[in-house]
């Protein structure tokens, strides 16, 4: 019996320390889509470098990176929120992006001015509206949703959601703290129900007649429209997509990126650079848009068919680091204005 326990212990210990070989790259990632697995498999086939992955929430991964310090095996940190990348960078967990990475084709406004992270894909936080009860001419900007005419008609998920926190941070960056607070108050007063559920639930709530306009990510409309379930497709078809803040004097629609940074103590730096170059290549970017409803960060790669139907739009050119910088203020705004 004693021996068995000893062996088990030794095996347990060793199993975590067997990646001494040099042809690996270790990822701490918040992305866990099918398309990511495809990308890593293609990369392994192409280069022979094995991609090791730990997937969890961004905050937990950051916490793990911080606590591991110099002992961390992580090479690349990937998040679906620029704010989290900014957070990791500000905590000194990332190193500067190497000059060996090709960034020539990337949309300029998506790049980090401090050079700590690179974008992979992006999503827009858009408005969807009921085809029956809303005329497109009634819609204008995020700001206009606080107008009185939307009373009891707005749907949005809770403020604990990172996408909403990022949106509020962008409101603060653009309109100042007080401006954002006023807007948030207006939204709360106009809510059709208290914030809850996920993005798809907001669309379903429009379909059911609970509300008329919802703030959601473009990605999830694609998911609904391609659902196996007839009722879900119907929900997706009952609404239309609207890109807010597109008028000439307006700043553009709020977007957020999936992005990646190199860990401060990356043990396999060269392999990390090779992988990052691969993920930004036209080939890999095409794989992203074909297998998900995200937008490519590469200027020359077009989105998938469903997404193209919604049309082109201008993106808010705000420095995306602000999504992290104003995060705490954003939560304060949510808390003081009662956005649950």
């Amino acid at each position: 019996m004693k021996n068995t326990i000893l062996y088990i212990t030794i095996i347990c210990l060793l199993s975590g320390c067997n990646n001494k070989q040099s042809d690996i790259v270790n990822l701490y990632t918040q992305r866990h889509y099918k398309v990511d697995e495809i990308q890593y498999k293609n990369f392994e086939k192409l280069t022979g470098i094995k991609v090791n992955v730990v997937k969890s929430n961004a905050d937990e991964l950051i916490e793990r990176l911080r606590n591991e310090g110099e002992n961390s095996k992580a090479d690349i940190f990937i998040s679906v929120d620029a704010g989290k990348l900014q957070k990791a960078a500000s905590m000194g967990l990332l190193q500067n992006i190497s000059d060996d990475i090709q960034t020539g084709n990337i949309i300029n406004t998506l790049l980090d001015v401090n050079d700590f992270w690179l974008p992979l894909t992006y999503r827009a936080r858009i408005l969807v509206y009921s085809n029956d009860r809303v005329d497109v001419s009634e819609l204008d900007s995020y700001e206009s949703l606080s107008d009185e005419k939307w009373k009891n008609r707005i749907l949005v998920r809770s403020s604990s959601n990172a996408y909403n926190q990022a949106l509020m941070a962008s409101m603060i960056a653009n309109n100042g703290y007080e401006g954002a607070k006023k807007w948030s108050k207006g939204i709360v007063e106009n809510l059709a129900r208290s914030p809850k559920g996920n993005d798809r639930d907001q669309v379903k709530a429009i379909y059911s007649g609970l509300g008329d306009v919802a703030i959601v990510n473009s990605y999830y409309i694609g998911l609904l429209l391609s659902s196996e379930k007839e009722e879900e497709r119907k929900a997706g078809e009952a609404v239309s997509v609207f890109f807010p803040n597109q008028a000439e004097n307006q700043r553009g629609t709020h977007i957020n990126i999936s992005g990646m940074g190199i860990a401060k103590n990356a043990p396999n730096l060269e392999n990390a650079i090779t992988l990052m170059n691969y993920l930004l290549s036209e080939e890999a970017q095409n794989t992203y848009v074909k297998n998900s409803y995200e937008y490519s960060v590469n200027k020359s790669v077009k989105p998938s068919e469903i997404v193209q139907k919604w049309g082109d739009f201008r993106i808010d050119s705000l420095d995306l680091n602000n999504l992290g910088v104003y995060r705490e203020d954003a939560i304060e705004v949510f808390e003081t204005t009662g956005w649950k």
């Binding site: 975590g16 969890s56 991964l61 916490e63 606590n67 095996k73 914030p195 709530a205 379909y207």
Partner: protein, 522 residues
């Protein structure tokens, strides 16, 4: 006791206390009071929500745990054994899967409202409402957790025995008054322990509460930690939660210690009081929790599996199932081995160390899993920096360590109650006949308690199969389990695609619970 024995006990205590200590010591500059004072509204709000949610969940789990237990114990009816088993099965469905499933079932595009629209259109507008509320969440959690109360009540009713009941009958009490005046007071300690477990589960709940948009104390901890980046305050809040839970725990123990009840041995209510069922109410009381706690979500998940059967990758699914099952088996085996040792020493030597461990073994259950996981990461990097240069983070070792702390309490109670029933003179005689400690454990304790050990093993196994937050953050590279995969799909709003993983978890856990039921029945 030999030095070696004390060492093992000391080590076990250290394993539990070290991570929690490192969490607190690492964040000593914390001042949780100031955080709470700064934003009283937020904490009043989350405190109120937590309390309200607890009340609803506890109410539902008592109603649907206690009464079915009484009916199943008292009456004999067709399929009684099956009903009895089905009343345990909600334990096989993780609460987060219950919440996601009910979210979908009740939504406007879900089967419930769709059915109404298609077949009873006149009624459908009345049911088109917002179901993601704290009240519905409380019911969902209640229907998911009532088996704790059911199990405790069943065991307690069986122990009460016939003489109390006979006496009450002779004094002219009818069945109802017998239940409220005799059976219920005698079972209060057992029910209280079960309610305590239900409360623990609710306090640790994170996935379901977040999906329903309900701010509880636990969601507040994570918001403070992650979004506000205030680790100190988050640790402080965790300590507040820990203290609250420990206080409840101590109260429960004090109450139970005060009310010592002399159960008659060898008298089983089941076999002496079989009555033919006369009204439909008891049947209804048993059927409702089975339907809501197991059948509805189960059918929903099976239906999703059938609809998406062509998309699933069966080899991947098999690998995931293998990962989940093998890891859970290994961890439960270790937990039971340690518990066996500790409780053996406690029974034979009654040392202070073993008593301490007894108390500490409940601490892990009192902290949210994710907080415990992070405290283990802190501990491991402190060890790496100060003691030996091996990083434990990302190894199975640390993951199993986490499981050990969290689930010791689960395995402890069946083994302890089985040990408690062993007469002291048995081991005295064995010792007189020349058995040493090893012989005592092997020849006396092991055979006499084998069912309790197996029960403890399987209960740990079920909980480990369902475990999510700790596995998510502590797992090694490229290691997925059924639970983590379910979560990944659910968080991306693709509940359908996670159904096959949920289904395997439910089937494996149901099979384990079936064995538990079987061995304890015999």
């Amino acid at each position: 006791m030999k030095i070696g024995g004390k060492l093992v006990l000391g080590l076990a205590i250290l394993l539990i206390v070290l991570p929690i200590l490192s969490l607190i010591l690492y964040n000593l500059e914390v001042n949780p009071i100031s955080t709470i004072l700064n934003k009283p509204n937020v904490f009043i709000d989350s405190g109120y929500n937590t309390f309200y949610l607890l009340i609803i969940t506890v109410f539902i789990s008592i109603i649907f745990g206690l009464f079915p237990a009484w009916f199943v114990s008292l009456y004999s009816f067709k399929f009684k054994y099956l009903v009895d088993f089905l009343l345990y099965l909600p334990l096989a469905i993780p609460t987060y899967i219950m919440a996601f499933s009910y979210g979908e079932i009740l939504s406007y595009t879900g089967p419930f409202q769709l059915f109404l629209r298609n077949y009873i259109p006149a009624l459908s507008p009345f049911f088109n409402m917002d179901y993601l509320t704290i009240e519905v969440l409380g019911c969902v959690l209640g229907f998911s957790l009532f088996p704790y109360v059911y199990a405790a009540s069943r065991i307690s009713f069986t122990l009460i025995g016939q003489s109390y009941i006979h006496l009450s009958k002779m004094l002219g009490l009818n069945t109802l008054s017998t239940f409220f005046k005799v059976v219920l007071p005698l079972s209060t300690p057992a029910i209280l322990s079960a309610v305590f477990l239900v409360c623990m589960e609710v306090l640790n709940e994170y996935g379901a509460t977040k999906y329903f948009g309900v701010n509880t104390f636990t969601t507040e901890i994570f918001k403070t930690w992650y979004s506000l980046n205030d680790i100190g305050a988050a640790v402080g809040l965790s300590v507040v939660l820990l203290i609250t839970v420990m206080t409840l725990y101590i109260f429960e123990h004090m109450y139970n210690a005060k009310t010592k009840i002399n159960y008659k041995e060898n008298t089983q209510l089941d076999f002496t009081f079989k009555k033919k069922i006369t009204s439909t109410k008891p049947i209804l009381f048993c059927i409702i929790p089975i339907l809501f706690g197991f059948v509805f979500p189960f059918i929903f998940i099976v239906n999703n599996v059938i609809e998406n059967i062509l998309i699933f990758n069966f080899i991947d699914t098999l690998i995931l199932a293998f990962n989940s099952i093998s890891l859970s088996l290994l961890a439960s085996l270790l937990i039971v081995l340690v518990l066996f040792y500790v409780l053996f020493v406690d029974k034979e030597y009654k040392t202070r160390a073993s008593k301490t461990l007894n108390i500490f073994s409940s601490i892990g259950y009192a902290l949210p899993g994710a907080v415990l996981a992070l405290s283990l990461i802190i501990m491991s990097s402190q060890i790496k920096n100060n003691v030996i240069s091996v990083s434990l983070t990302g190894t199975y070792f640390l993951l199993i360590h986490a499981y050990f702390i969290r689930f010791m309490a689960v395995g402890k109670s069946p083994i302890k109650s089985s040990f408690d029933k062993m007469p002291d003179n048995l081991s005295e005689s064995a010792k007189n006949l020349g058995l040493g400690n090893l012989g005592l454990a092997k020849k006396l304790y092991l055979p006499l308690n084998k069912f309790a050990l197996l029960t403890a093993f399987l209960l740990c196994f079920v909980d480990l199969m369902k475990e999510l937050p700790m596995t998510l953050i502590l797992r090694p590279f490229n290691f997925d389990t059924l639970a983590t995969k379910t979560y990944e799909f659910a968080v991306e709003e693709m509940v359908d695609l996670s159904s096959i993983y949920s289904l395997i978890i439910i089937l494996v856990c149901s099979a384990s619970l079936f064995i538990v039921k079987k061995i304890n029945h015999n």
